[in-house]
Subunit: 236 residues, 4 copies
C-alpha cells in the first residue's frame, strides 16, 4: 500500500506525464505511511514527512488540518487497501483452496506494511478514530464477509451450526497472530528467519491454521491424519 512515488501513466494532452501522477494528497499520505511505519506516530515529524513527500512542510497542512488527521486518513487508506478484493477471492474452488489463497493474499498484502500495521494497532489505543478505521472497518468488515460465506456453508449442511461470527473471528485471529508473532520473533531473534524461508514457513502455518479451522467446523470430519509435524508460532 501507498508505495513511494509511482511513476504512473497519466498524461495531460500528449504530455508525458507531470512529474508525479499521484495527486499531492496521495503523495503526502504515502510519505506519511512510510514515516509512521519507521518512527511511529509521535516519532514522525511533519518535517520528515514533508521531506519524504518532496513538498514543503506547510503544504501538508493544506491537505490535512492536523498531523492527527493525517494519521487517521492513512489508517483509513490502510483499511481500504487491506479490504480490497477480499471477496473476489472466495471463488468456486474448494473451501480449502479458497481460504488458503485468501489468506496467502492477505499475508502478501500486510507483510510489507507490517510496521505500519503495528503502529496503527498501537495508535488505536489512543485514538478512537484510528480504532474505528482499523477494527471497525477492517476486522469486523472482513469477519462480516467471511461470516456470510460461513453461514451459507452452514445452511448447506457443510459446516457445523456454530456461531458463524465467532468461528470466523477465530480464523482471522489465528492468522493475525501468526503474522504478528512471526515478525516479533524475527526482530527479537534474527536467526529465527534463517531456520526456514519465509514462504515455506507461511505455507506450513497457513495450511495448519486452515486445516484445523476446517476440521473444527466441518460437519463431517475428514481423516484426521493430516497434522503436519512441526507447526510454528501462531499456529495450531
Amino acid at each position: 500500500m501507498t508505495s513511494g512515488k509511482s511513476p504512473g501513466n497519466r498524461m495531460g494532452r500528449g504530455g508525458p506525464d507531470n512529474l508525479h501522477d499521484m495527486p499531492r494528497k496521495q503523495e503526502i499520505m504515502a510519505a506519511a505511511a512510510k514515516v509512521f511505519a519507521r518512527k511511529g506516530f509521535k516519532g514522525a515529524t511533519t518535517s520528515e514527512i514533508a521531506r519524504e513527500a518532496g513538498v514543503a512542510e506547510g503544504t501538508i497542512f493544506r491537505y490535512f488540518k492536523t498531523k492527527k488527521d493525517l494519521l487517521v486518513d492513512v489508517a483509513g487508506s490502510l483499511a481500504v487497501e487491506t479490504l480490497k478484493g477480499i471477496m473476489s477471492e472466495m471463488s468456486a474452488k474448494s473451501d480449502e483452496e479458497s481460504l488458503k489463497s485468501l489468506i496467502y493474499n492477505r499475508l502478501e498484502l500486510i507483510r510489507p506494511n507490517l510496521d505500519l500495521v503495528k503502529v496503527m494497532f498501537y495508535e488505536a489505543q489512543f485514538h478512537p478514530e484510528v480504532r474505528q478505521m482499523i477494527f471497525g472497518r477492517v476486522i469486523f468488515e472482513a469477519a462480516q464477509m467471511l461470516s456470510e460465506y460461513f453461514e451459507a456453508r452452514v445452511k448447506m449442511g457443510i459446516f457445523r451450526d456454530v456461531d458463524p461470527f465467532a468461528a470466523v473471528r477465530s480464523l482471522v485471529g489465528a492468522v493475525f497472530t501468526y503474522i504478528m508473532f512471526d515478525s516479533v520473533l524475527k526482530t527479537a531473534n534474527p536467526a529465527w528467519e534463517d531456520s526456514d524461508p519465509q514462504e515455506a514457513r507461511d505455507r506450513r502455518n497457513v495450511d495448519l491454521i486452515v486445516d484445523i479451522f476446517l476440521n473444527g467446523v466441518r460437519a463431517t470430519r475428514e481423516v484426521p491424519g493430516g497434522l503436519p509435524g512441526k507447526p510454528d508460532a501462531g499456529g495450531i
Copy 2:
C-alpha cells in the same frame, strides 16, 4: 504488577509507618507504568509521571538518569513479574490441568497490565533494551521452560516427537493472540464484553487452546469429539 500507590501493610499498633511503605523508586516505577499504559512512552510526560507518583519532577531523575531508563526499568520489572512463579505451577497434575492453570494465571497477571504490555511490545520496535527485556527474557525464557517440560514428555513417549520449541511457541502464541485480540474486540466494541462474562470466555477459549494443543501433540489421540460449540477470537 506495580499497583498504584501502595495498599500498604502498615501495622496497626506502634508502627512508625512511613507514609508509603513502597520505596520511592518503586513508587515512581508504578506511576510510570500507569502513565505509559495510558499514553504510551512518548505521550507520557515526566511531569505527569511525577504528579501520578506524588513527587516533584526532579525527583524522578534522582532515580532514573533519563526517561528512557525509566522505560527500560519498567519493562524489566514487567518481565520479571510476568515470569515469576512460572514453573512452580507445572505441578504434578495432569498435563491438561497443568497447562490450563498456568495459562489462567498468566491471563490474570497480564490482563490488568495489558495496555502496558502493548506499549512495551510497541516500544520494543524502537528500543533494543526493551526488546531484550520483553522478548529475550519473557518470551524466550518462558518458552525455554515449557520446552523442557515438553521434551521430557517426548522422551516418555507421551508427546509426539516434534520440535519442542516450535510446538511450545505455538501454544504461547495462541494464548498471546487470544488475550490481545479479546482486548481489542472489547475496546472496539464494548458490547462484546457483555455477551458473555470475561471469566467464562477465558475458560472456554483457554480450554479450547489447550485441547487443541494437546490433541495436536499427543502421541495417542484422544476421542476427538470435544470441539466446544462456540470458540472465540484467537481460539480454535
Copy 3:
C-alpha cells in the same frame, strides 16, 4: 564586530527596505555576541539572546543547531573580523609608522568587543573549537603574517637575526597585555580612566611598546634617549 541591530544603509527613497537589512542569522549572532559579552557563555540564556535579537527562541535553533554552535560561530566571526585588513596596513611607511598604525587599528577593533574577547579566551579553555578559532586562527595567523614581514627585514639586514616568530609573539603579547590590563584597571578602579584620556594613554603605551620592540630587534640601535616618562600597565 556584529554591532547591535543593524546600522542599516536603508536608502531613503523608493527602497522596499526590509525591516532589518542584516539577515536573520547575522542578527542572531550579533545579539549572541552582546549577551555572551555581558553574561558569559553559560550565563547567557537562549531566551535572552532571542529577546535581544528580537526573534522567538525557537528561531535561534533554525540557524544554529545548538547554543554551542552559536558560540563557535560567533568566535569564528570575531576571529575573521579581527584578522580583516591586517596586512593591508603594513604599507610602505617606516617600520615605526607601520607597526603603530597596525596596532592602533587593532586596538580600535578590539576594545568595543573586549568583554566578548575575554569570554572567548575563557571559553577556549573548555571548547577546542573555540580555541581553534581564537588561537589557531587569530593569534597564530596574525603572528604568521607579521613573521613574514619580520623575516624580510632580517634578510635586508635591518633587524637582528632572532627567531622571527618569537620576536613577533612578544610584540603581540605586549599589545594584548596592555589592552587587557588597561581594561581591568578601568573596571576595578573607574578613577583610572579619568586620570588621562583613553586615546592619549593608548598612544603613549603603544608608542612605548613599539619603541622597545624596534629598539630590541633593530640591528643598529637608535639613540636610546626616548623612554617616555610615564609608562602604563602592560607597557614597559
Copy 4:
C-alpha cells in the same frame, strides 16, 4: 594554595586533630578551588565540590550561604595566598636580584593555580565582589607595596622620578601577561612547550622583563648590550 586533603599528622587519642586537620570550611574551599579551576564557576556543581571535599552536599551550605559566597571566599583566599610573603622577599640584594626572585616566587605560586586564576579573572567580569578581591586586593596591594619600594629608590636617586605606581604597574602587567600568554600558547599548541623547558623559558623572559624595567627606570643607564637573543611572548 588550598591543596587537597592534607593527610595531616594524626595520632590515636588525645590528638587535637580530627580526621583531617584542615577545618571543614578550609576543606570545602580547597575542593571548590579545584573544581572551579577545572570547570569554571558555572560549570562547577555543588555536588561535585561536595564529592571532592568528601562531605555531603548540604554541608557546604552550613558554611557558605550560597555557591557564589563560596566563590568569593575562594577568591579571597587566593588573593591572600598570592600576597603572602610578598615583601619579605624584597631583601637586601641588588634590585636585579630582588625583583627577579620576587617574580620567580610569584610564578611558582601562580602557575599551579593558573586555571583558578583565569577563572577568577573571568568571574571578576561578572561579580564585583570577586573583582574587589582579585584586583582591589592582589593587584593594587602588590603594586602598593612595590610602589613604596620604588619610591624609596627614587628618593635615593637610584630610579628616575616617574610615577611609581604607574611604573610598578607596568612591571606587574608584563609578568602577568607573560604567564597568561605562555599558558595560552601551551594549550593552543602543545608543541610550544617542548621547544624549551618551562624553567628556562621563565628565566629568560623574567630576566628580560626585569632588564627592561630596570633599564627603563634607572637614573643612570647600564650598558645596554644585554638583550637576550630570543625573547618570548609577553616579553619586551
